[in-house]
């Protein structure tokens, strides 16, 4: 028997471990999709519609086809012989949507023809040489106008451009019939209310703008009848499923790879037409093909987010107790339904209960087609919209009643002893403890000090306001009953010879740092050094199964699958270890992993090294009875419920009296995402989320003109937050673990985005409250703020 005399290994869960992904990324050695080159690779370029709505009369591809180096030019109608309409991932009715338009175009940027050429520049030249003649149709740009009888319609069979209509109310939906139960209580609540808040609010359209645009390389090998697709995607396994179906192949004939992916934020969940086209044209051209999106194309064709109009009504008693909520939501979903389009706005209503006890709720949702880029998930996906509407309305109520925004929230919180808590919308919040989080935020921000600072600034003639928001969101998307693609996640854990560990995860990251956090978890689980672990992801030929990374599910679902597989592998290691120690009459149940050894708990002298046991597992002489050699285990983890993280954000905004320019002076975020594996990474996630939430509040908006022409299609016109626009964020947290997974982790990817947007707008409204302002539409453009100041004669 040998005992390795290594130092005790520190526990890594909960530590700020620096990332294992970084060395390749900081040295320019990572491989993103545009870095992939294959022998004989051809390049695609798309001819795209430059009108918003019209019938394709003719397409002249002759000039393009004649160019030297152009292999193939194909129109949408021709391509439709090879690719059918694209699948979607929701159960809602949807019009046919081809990868390349066949007869009609419905948004600027919709592809109408494709060129395959020898190089990227040439492909673009050829696409430019294609002439398309359209019969223009009236553009539908305003969703409320779109629903009026007599408006032009985008799709046959979708009268008044309505894609989805839903309604629920009263004391909830009857789960048996899916019909609203008695709704009279809602009307009664509003009739009996002491005070009402009514506000129309726009949660504007945004462009996700991952810094890496989309891209795809496809290689169809005719001899093998095998397709490989590399794509900048958040979910290679879903890509494999859908591209196989579109190509008439089985999943056994397709390998999908997400190489290094430069951010997703929801816009790389959808499987896009370009991915199918690349696969089909690789087969047609008999060569690998590549397509890389440029930023203008990204603005025109990568899914947008948000764009919900809300008519919000709140009823309350004079002491601030909320007695009812009515929300009528109109979602401008753009021209088509793509993968999750129609589902996203439904999350808005589901989460509009927020952190409050709401006796009655009525919710109406209409999703409307317009001649704009289709919408889909964008960081937060449905929740930021709902929480924005709710947290703005609650803030207005506080102002109406002259109550402190913190105290009105405290008064209406779901109490800690009521969890698990069933909402009016039919969700069950897993766990929550809101008051300590609020108190901590007030303390960290020094709320009373901020109020005094604001008042002092006002006395000097400055325009300063403070804002607060309290959010709850839904994370860890699963179980399968609510996720159309499957709500589980998969992981594999192999203990290699020599005691090293290779693990796979279907949670394919694009910046989340899973290679680090997952290795931390395994290091602690097996008590082996971090360096002895490799986490593989993103390649369906390596990672057997998976769903992907969205809805803040990596840790809560993917991490749980990993721990489950690690548990199985660990059990087998203990069985082999026990077999090696039969002379000492050790049973596997007595064994633990400790500092690179497998030992009897409390008796390190009775042990084998992890490496010894691993070696034995692969040459098990004699093979213990009833066992197979090797240690390679896998797990599918299906959560029983979602998780519901929450948090409180506080901010201070100053507005320049002369120019209207807003400046964010302070941003405090106290979040509760349950147990934390790596606080450094969690802080990074919150920071990034805050920046995007602040971006929506202050800077960002996709704008179309009245003809459906996008006028914000570059970083010159679409305002992204830059370093100098943001303050240093102040973070803290509380920890309320979830019972729905063994880690107790809830998820944190979207939290920052959800709380910060209403928080900053609340602060801006507070700043302009002395001017009689009760609501400001986003983004907080200087011009808009300047006008509000001027409307009051510039005097507060």
């Amino acid at each position: 028997m040998t005992i390795a005399d290594g130092p005790a290994l520190p526990k890594l869960i909960g530590e700020r471990v620096k990332r294992r992904e970084d060395p390749r990324l900081i040295q320019g050695q990572a491989t993103y999709v545009d870095d992939i080159k294959l022998p004989g690779m051809l390049h695609l370029a798309f001819k795209r519609s430059d009108i918003a709505h019209g019938v394709i009369k003719s397409i002249d591809t002759s000039a393009a086809a004649e160019m030297e180096g152009v292999e193939l030019v194909i129109t949408g109608a021709e391509l439709a012989e090879h690719l059918g309409p694209m699948p979607i991932g929701t159960p809602f009715p949807a019009p046919d949507h081809f990868s390349v338009a066949t007869d009609k175009v419905r948004y600027v940027g919709e592809p109408v023809a494709v060129v395959v050429a020898e190089d990227r520049y040439l492909a673009r030249d050829a696409a430019d040489a294609i002439e398309v003649e359209y019969e223009e149709l009236p553009a539908v740009v305003d969703p409320e106008v779109a629903m009026e009888p007599g408006s032009a319609t985008l799709h046959e069979g979708f009268e008044r451009n309505i894609a989805v209509e839903s309604y629920w109310g009263g004391t909830g939906v009857n789960p048996e019939t899916a019909q609203p139960e008695d709704d009279s209580a809602v009307d009664a609540a509003f009739e009996e209310a002491d005070v009402l808040v009514t506000q129309r609010m726009l949660n504007q359209r945004l462009a996700p703008n991952a810094m890496e645009p989309r891209g795809v390389v496809a290689q169809y090998e005719t001899g093998r009848e095998y397709l490989t697709v590399w794509s900048a995607t958040q979910n290679p396994h879903i890509l494999r499923t859908l591209v196989a179906a579109m190509m008439g192949l089985g999943e056994h004939q397709v390998r999908a790879v997400a190489p290094e992916v430069g951010g997703g934020f929801g816009c790389k969940i959808n499987i896009y037409g370009e991915e199918y086209v690349a696969a089909a044209l690789s087969r047609l051209a008999g060569a690998p093909v590549k397509w890389i999106e440029d930023r203008t194309e990204a603005f025109l064709t990568t899914t947008h987010g948000r764009d919900l109009l809300g008519y919000i009504d709140l009823a309350a008693k004079s002491d601030g107790t909320i007695t009812g909520l009515k929300a009528r939501i109109i979602a401008d979903i753009g021209a088509y339904e793509v993968l999750l389009t129609a589902m996203i706005p439904t999350l808005t209503g589901l989460m509009m209960n927020g952190v409050y006890r709401l006796p009655v709720v009525r919710h109406e949702l209409t999703e409307v087609f317009t001649n704009k880029t289709p919408t889909d998930a964008y960081r937060g996906a449905g929740r930021p919209e709902g929480l924005y509407f709710l947290e703005r309305a609650v803030d207005m109520l506080a102002r109406e009643l002259d109550m402190d925004p913190a105290e009105i929230r405290r008064k209406n919180f779901v109490p800690a002893d009521e969890f698990p808590f069933a909402t009016q919308s039919g969700l069950v919040y897993d766990s929550g403890n809101y008051e300590p989080c609020l108190d901590k935020a007030l303390e960290v921000a020094d709320w009373q000090g901020m109020l005094a600072e604001r008042d002092a600034a006002r006395a000097e003639g400055r325009i300063v306001g403070v804002g607060l928001s309290f959010y709850v969101e839904v994370c860890g998307l699963g179980p399968s009953a609510v996720v159309p693609t499957g709500g589980w996640e998969h992981s594999g854990v192999t203990v290699e010879r020599g005691g090293k560990v290779t693990a796979t995860t279907g949670a394919s990251p694009h910046g989340q740092g899973n290679e680090t956090t997952f290795a931390q978890m395994l290091a602690d689980h097996f008590s082996i050094p971090l360096e002895d672990i490799t986490i593989l992801h993103g390649d369906t030929s390596v990672v057997k199964q998976g769903i992907g990374t969205f809805g803040s599910r990596s840790q809560a679902v993917g991490g749980a699958a990993l721990i489950s597989a690690a548990g199985k592998a660990g059990d087998k290691m203990k069985q082999f270890a026990a077999a090696l120690m039969t002379d000492q009459e050790v049973s596997p149940e007595d064994l633990v992993f400790e500092d690179g050894r497998i030992q009897v708990e409390g008796a390190p002298e009775v042990s084998k090294t992890f490496a010894e046991v691993a070696d034995f597992a692969y040459v098990p002489v004699p093979l213990p009875p009833g066992m197979e050699p090797g240690v390679s285990e896998e797990s599918f983890f299906e959560p029983e419920n979602n998780t519901y993280p929450f948090g409180c954000h506080i901010s201070m905004v100053e507005i320049d009296r002369e120019t209207g320019e807003p400046r964010l002076l302070k941003m405090v975020a106290v979040d509760d995402c349950g147990n934390v594996i790596n606080p450094l990474i969690v802080d990074g996630q919150v920071h990034g989320g805050l920046a995007q939430g602040i971006g929506q509040a202050m800077f960002e908006e996709v704008v179309y003109d009245e003809d459906g022409q996008p006028v914000t299609a570059s970083f010159m016109d679409y305002v992204m937050p830059r370093a100098a626009d943001l303050p240093a964020f102040e973070l803290d947290n509380t920890v309320t673990p979830t019972p729905v997974n063994p880690l107790g982790a809830k998820g944190v990817g979207e939290a920052g985005t959800i709380g910060s947007t209403p928080c900053v707008v609340n602060a801006a409204v507070d700043a302009l409250a002395p001017f009689g302002v009760t609501h400001i539409e986003m983004p907080l453009r200087p011009e808009r703020l300047w006008r509000l100041i001027q409307e009051n004669g510039g005097q507060s």
Binding site: D50, I51, V108, Q709, V711, S714, M716, D717
Partner: protein, 148 residues
Amino acid sequence: MEIKGEQEFNGGRELLYELLLDPDVLASALPGVERFEEVAPDRYESTMRVGIASVRGTYTGRVEVLEQSPPESYRLRIEGSGKPGGIRADAVVDLSESGGGTTMHYRADVKARGTIARLGGRLLGGVARLLIGQFFKSIEQQVDDRAA
């Protein structure tokens, strides 16, 4: 997008009216025109080269003259397209006497698509002013030549 303005000319408005609708004059006065042909009464086709920033390119266009009321006013319907996109414009031109000369008021509603539309906000107005300025300068020259 609306483009409007006014311009003073030395000559009388009958002369100006005639010049402004003379294909030969237009062909020489419009900047970058390579071809300007009357294809039917009051309908013209042209090829025009614009060499400014990202709207650079060759445009083919159609111009239709409507609602002619000499020497006071007329309306133009203009359509043009090229690689960077296209425009459609509906322009009204009014000529009024002022002192010894003529004041021209113009107002055009311009709709753009393609790159032109996307960059339009920041670029189109400036480009239009530049081209209109060049056009007026040339017309002014011809008015002076005829008047002399």
